[in-house]
Amino acid sequence: MKRTAFINARLIDPATNLDAPGGLLVEGGKIADVGPRLFNDSRPANADVIDCAGQVLGPGLIDLRVFTGEPGAEHRETLASAGESAAAGGVTSFAMMPVTDPVIDDAALVDFIKRRAAANAKVNVYPCAALTQGLEGALMAEIGLLQEAGAVAFTDADRTIASTLIMRRCLTYAANYDALVIAHAEDPALAAVGHMNEGAFAARMGLGGIPAAAEAIIVERDMRLVELTGARYHLGQVSTAAALEVIAKAKARGLPVTCAVSAHHLVLNEQDVGEYKTFAKVSPALRTEDDRKAMVEGVRSGTIDAIVSSHDPQAPETKRLPFAQAAYGAVGLETLLPAALSAHHEAGVSLIDVLRRLSLAPANLLRLPAGRLTKGAPADLIVFDPGAPRKIDPSEFRSRSKNSPFKGRLMQGRVSRTMVAGTTVFQAT
């Protein structure tokens, strides 16, 4: 049986609050042993040895929000290229949004994605299925059959279900199967007339604005519905301080609610739209600097459970357009770690808490055994240097799409090795 030993590592395991020098042994694709004293006195026998040279060894990142183009838009991203991109970014598992052509709202398509991903993607791909048929927000999808086929969560991705009645019934039905619902919070009518955050900047640019209240209105509504239905609710991306406050109150009341923030919203604000940069057109919109700071504080306090890449590959024909006509979305798999680490480097959030939001918390949400350095857990691991400086160059991305709002930005954090089930799937050169 193949054995791999990591030595001279700085072990960080959010599950046990461990941050200490030590070693880890992988056997048969699983973590066989781990600990601060492991390999202190003896060299591992019959094993390939990887010397981490003091770099961090932690659980691989688990990204709850990734769009691919397969099936239907393979020129933007395939499962294979998304897998390459994820591996390079230290992401060992991702939940895939059902926004494909055809939409993943049928058990046969869940099966298709799982088979294609197993054959072609280097990392674990967990398909999410549509909450409503065709993502149309009208008729509920076959949540029970889709879950049996392997869908890990139910979401209309970047669409909000406008009808409170339909949202209620979807949540009620999801609760019947203890299924996780991932919601998007933007009042559809308010959002329809805007393209970026509403405020002085949008006004000066002459762009229609989406008010912060568009998010809070839906989150307020949804919290009432969660209370009514008992469904497991995850807000896919929070972007405003106002909505975060609503989530915090709901959590304090004991509702089964969680939320995530995208790495973009941790680092960027509305000013980054600059001169109509369409790569900074994301949904929800980049908000004010105060909102961004509130997101960082949410990561620190744990009100925000997870950090996601919200990786959304777009091609030049959907982005090289006037701002109002351009598609929403930015790639993010290969910048997730450095962008998340900015909360550590610039705001002093502990490294273990940043890693917790990127691994253990999303694993627990999807009820995966990964995301922890525990004996018997899958050997989905990353080795990274959290302080290594780099300038983001999208031309180096493994992703087929290069629409990154971080282009040219100086960031810190470099993945040197990514392992999935005991096999190295990425190694920095």
Binding site: E142, I143, G144, L145, T172, Y173
Partner: protein, 316 residues
């Protein structure tokens, strides 16, 4: 025997006592025997007029009442809404008072709105039988179900009955919960959360959302009809998903008590809520027996009510 049931109307099971229910069942049992003879005719309701007033289409309930009335010697008349002047804009109460002026003795009413039958009963001087009002009650269905169970298993006390399906919209479920719990059965309600009314747990029945759990060890599995229009995405995503999780097939039925019996108020959606192999299994399915008991139970109700009519002849 029926001395205990002394009401002008039968509008619901909820207000009845166990003794009243049992007296109706005892009387029903007598009519089952009568209905199996060559001559099924009695003159209990001779000279009486029975009107079947159906605002909602029905085949089996209406014909069952019609036959019950005829076997008891009443003059019966069927009125359904598409023939009546309701189509011409007459109010519900005007229709009732008009009919009342024709001096019927008993009116059997079905209406799509909960409470509508009680509203009409208030406005007429004759007896009224509720043949189903909205999602409220369908008392004669519960009586015929109880009669069916009692004849097959000899008792109701102590049995476990799982009522499965669209509880939210079902008057059959509500009447059965009342009746079966009054008679000492343990009742379980099984439905997906979208088809389970909030507060069902306070009805004296146990609530289940997983059918396998809900029918475990049950003596009787009572399936409810699910209307097709509920299975296109509003309450349920599809028929195939419903059948997969809530349809009664051999595999799920195997979890009930060995030899457990299956009931359905009809009309059935084969392959949606019940597998044909079970519906047609003469060892397990009571579905045809329920139809037979329906006539007898309704004869018992009409007979009992007629004894309370103002000018009734006193019988032994």
């Amino acid at each position: 025997m029926t001395g205990l049931f002394a009401r002008q109307h039968l509008l619901a099971i909820a207000p009845l006592t166990r003794q009243e229910i049992e007296s109706l069942l005892d009387l029903g049992a007598e009519y089952v025997d009568l209905n199996r003879q060559v001559s099924k005719k009695r003159d209990t309701l001779r000279g009486r007029t029975l009107i079947n007033l159906f605002f909602e289409p029905s085949t089996r309930t209406q014909s069952s009442f019609e036959l019950a009335g005829k076997r008891l010697g009443a003059d019966t008349m069927n009125m359904s809404v598409n023939q009546s002047s309701l189509k011409k804009g007459e109010t519900l109460i005007d229709t009732a008072t008009t009919l009342n002026a024709m001096r019927p003795d008993i009116i059997v009413i079905r209406h799509q709105d909960s409470g509508a039958v009680a509203l009409l009963a208030d406005k007429v001087s004759c007896s009224v039988v509720n043949a189903g009002d909205g999602a409220h009650e369908h008392p004669t269905q519960a009586l015929l179900d109880a009669l069916t169970i009692r004849r097959r298993l000899g008792k109701i006390e102590g049995l476990t009955v799982a009522i499965c399906g669209d509880v939210l919209h079902s008057r059959v479920a509500r009447s059965n919960v009342h009746l079966l719990t009054k008679l000492g059965a343990r009742v379980r309600l099984v439905a997906p959360r979208t088809l389970m009314p909030s507060g069902a747990a306070t009805w004296g029945a146990e609530v289940f959302h997983d059918m396998r759990e809900g029918i475990k060890g049950a003596d009787i599995v009572m399936m409810l009809r699910v209307q097709m229009e509920r299975m296109t995405g509003a309450f349920l995503p599809s028929q195939r998903e419903y059948f997969h999780f809530y349809g009664l097939d051999r595999e799920k039925l195997a979890l009930a008590k060995p030899g457990a019996l299956v009931m359905h108020p009809g009309p059935m959606n084969r392959g949606v809520e019940i597998d044909s192999a079970i519906a047609d299994d003469i060892d397990r399915s009571l579905i045809h027996e329920q139809v037979e008991m329906g006539v007898a139970a309704r004869m018992a109700v009409l007979d009992a009510l007629s004894r309370q009519l103002p000018n009734a002849e006193r019988k032994q």
